[in-house]
Symmetry: C2
Subunit: 381 residues, 2 copies
């Protein structure tokens, strides 16, 4: 057993009761509205936590990278990779599809062709969702007509199975209470796509959508069959700021130590850009890169790689060197990606920990001739 005070900082700590509550609440919502919950594991990157989601009724998992999908295949045999399968990605996914029911989202003929070729090579079958740009303007075909065109192409390619459509409502930000018009526009888009697919005699088993900001209003997007929130397992400052959770629902904080108070008017903690990430408050109004759980008026106003500068002007709190704080990060997915291990707490006691198993990309380290030469130099001293 390790005491909280013994943890070397910066350390990621998760209040397990809060996490359990977040998981339960989303599972209940999905069940009561008969929408499949397919959590995006990019937030936690842990098969152990994915298992907690599956045990609560998740229909499968969503991943972004082949490495995430491979890691999750240990605990789940129904995976959606919500990312265009181009180049070596397609090959790796086609190989994985031999072992699990694999679905990919894509928005181009190039991606469809590559996925098909890879699946033929691997002798596997891959389900495909045509991704539509629903307003975020990041990826996705630009119209339902284009969606039908790409869907026809997918349906014609060997070893692919057209499964429906997907979109990511990443443009629906800001206060949750103000989302109604955007959700209704999304419902209209889904209806349009359903009509167009039906008219073209194309199947649409799945309409995949959903994010943490829209989580509890997903049912307002008529026709959605599954949702893919990620952040909800931990929540973060941005999620709280827009009203999609309370600040107390933020399960993950970055435990940090005050390492310097030498410069007047500020305190320096050991959580900088390499622990917190430099993520702004998207759709929210707060400044800084995170706030203290104990006093949200204290924010991390600026950072270096290993230094976070706390703004003290809005608080009467005056920290001492050596004091520990917990920072609620703006964007928790980035914070987890920056770490190797996460500690689980109950009543502020460290009761467990787990590795961030699916961070990284599973790229090989080579042992070429120069690699060995470098190594020899390194060992030869």
């Amino acid at each position: 057993m390790i005491e909280l005070t013994e943890l070397e900082t910066p350390a990621l700590v998760v209040d397990l009761e809060t996490m359990d509550h977040n998981l339960d609440r989303a599972a209940e919502y999905a069940k009561s509205h008969e929408i499949a919950l397919r959590p995006h594991i990019k937030t936690h990157k842990s098969p152990l936590l994915a298992r907690q989601q599956l045990d609560r009724g998740a229909s499968g998992l969503t991943c972004a990278t082949p490495y995430e999908a491979e890691a999750m295949s240990e605990v789940c045999d129904d995976l959606l990779v919500m990312y265009p399968p181009i180049g070596p990605r397609a090959l790796r996914l086609a190989e994985l599809a031999r072992r699990v029911r694999l679905t990919v989202a894509l928005d181009s003929e190039v991606a469809a062709n590559e996925m098909s070729r890879a699946a033929v090579t691997a002798a596997s079958r891959v389900r495909v969702l045509v991704e539509i740009d629903a307003g975020m303007h990041r990826v996705g075909v630009q119209s339902t007509a284009d969606a039908v065109g790409l869907a026809r192409r997918v349906a014609s390619l060997p070893n692919l199975e057209l499964a429906g459509i997907a979109f990511y409502p990443g443009h629906v930000r800001g206060p949750v209470a103000e989302h109604a018009a955007q959700l209704s526009a999304l419902a209209k888009l889904v209806a349009e796509a359903r009509d167009a697919f039906a008219h073209a005699a194309l199947p649409m088993e799945t309409v995949s959508a959903g994010s943490t900001p829209t989580l509890r209003r997903t049912h307002e997007i008529d026709g959605v069959t599954e949702m893919r929130p990620g952040t909800y397992i931990f929540n973060d400052r941005t999620t709280a700021e827009i009203g999609a959770c309370a600040l107390d629902d933020c399960a993950l904080t970055v435990l940090a130590t005050v390492v310097s108070t030498a410069v007047p008017g500020q305190a320096v903690i050991d959580a900088g850009a390499k622990a917190l990430g430099r993520e702004p408050m998207r759709g929210g109004t707060g400044d800084g890169f995170g706030c203290l759980a104990s006093d949200p008026s204290v924010v991390v106003k600026s950072m270096s790689e290993e230094h976070g500068i706390l703004e003290l002007s809005r608080s009467s709190w005056r920290p001492r060197v050596g004091e520990r704080v917990r920072v609620i990060p703006n964007h928790v997915c980035i914070v987890v990606h920056l770490a190797d291990v996460v500690y689980g707490l109950r009543d502020d006691a460290v009761v467990t920990s787990w590795p961030v198993a699916a961070r990284g990309r599973g790229q090989p380290v080579l042992a070429g001739p120069e690699s060995l030469a470098l190594l020899r130099t390194g060992l030869g001293r």
Copy 2:
């Protein structure tokens, strides 16, 4: 052997000839000006690359974290940890000091006391530099009088050895050609501190300073005995923008694939915030989070976790899905910290690779009762 085209993207690739040139040039500068070069390894986090620096005459290495220092102790027995040793950090460093000549920088009595206590416990000796705030206003004592006060305290504590002063000129940004006044102010600060220490009969063996932006003008800060640049091994877009290197001197790029061109006016690559970091151009004037090596007018204008959006409006280049690009990142230290492996190229052929060995923090993963319970659930499906 692996072909460049086979690498799964995003991948970090280093042109070894450019890196060698960067290393040689800094080593020659340090030698010609008789300033010790103690590179900061936070940029590459690799004992193999540290060895390249030591082979070229580096006097020792600079680290930020205990884990970095432990990793570097494999190849170097003279380490400076340029970070306040508070809490468990002090214990870990004191332990390391049994095996290597260890110096730490600190700016508070609390840190001095903790370092001394830890060194007594570990039965080791630790050299100490008093860190002065030279204008960056991040950490560091606020005056030479305060430096003398803290130095006296350090000199009085068991198992510590007062070695001099350190500062980080992180406020010296912007065009290198405009640094003269700031460098001259730093020289004045050093002279003042030298006088004050001499007057108090305190030793000042070392005056440690230096950054990549100030690298080639370090000699203008009279009295500096060692410099600690980090970024110079790879350089980055910011370093080029301020004139501390040419864009062609950027040895590390992020190899990325165009995964979508569905949204008009932009192209999406698979290097987003989880590969590039969300680092602004500090002291430089460019926008975005990185630019293409082949066409610096194309910048990564916005990002999601796994998506980078290329701004095409200033270029006639129109990418195809599947095309590969190389991104020069704004801030290379963050990019390396986000990766697990780096590939080395000669003439665009992959000839080697190495792990980012000192990323992470070396924190233990526990096997407590709940950890096992979680694990059982995970395996039990």
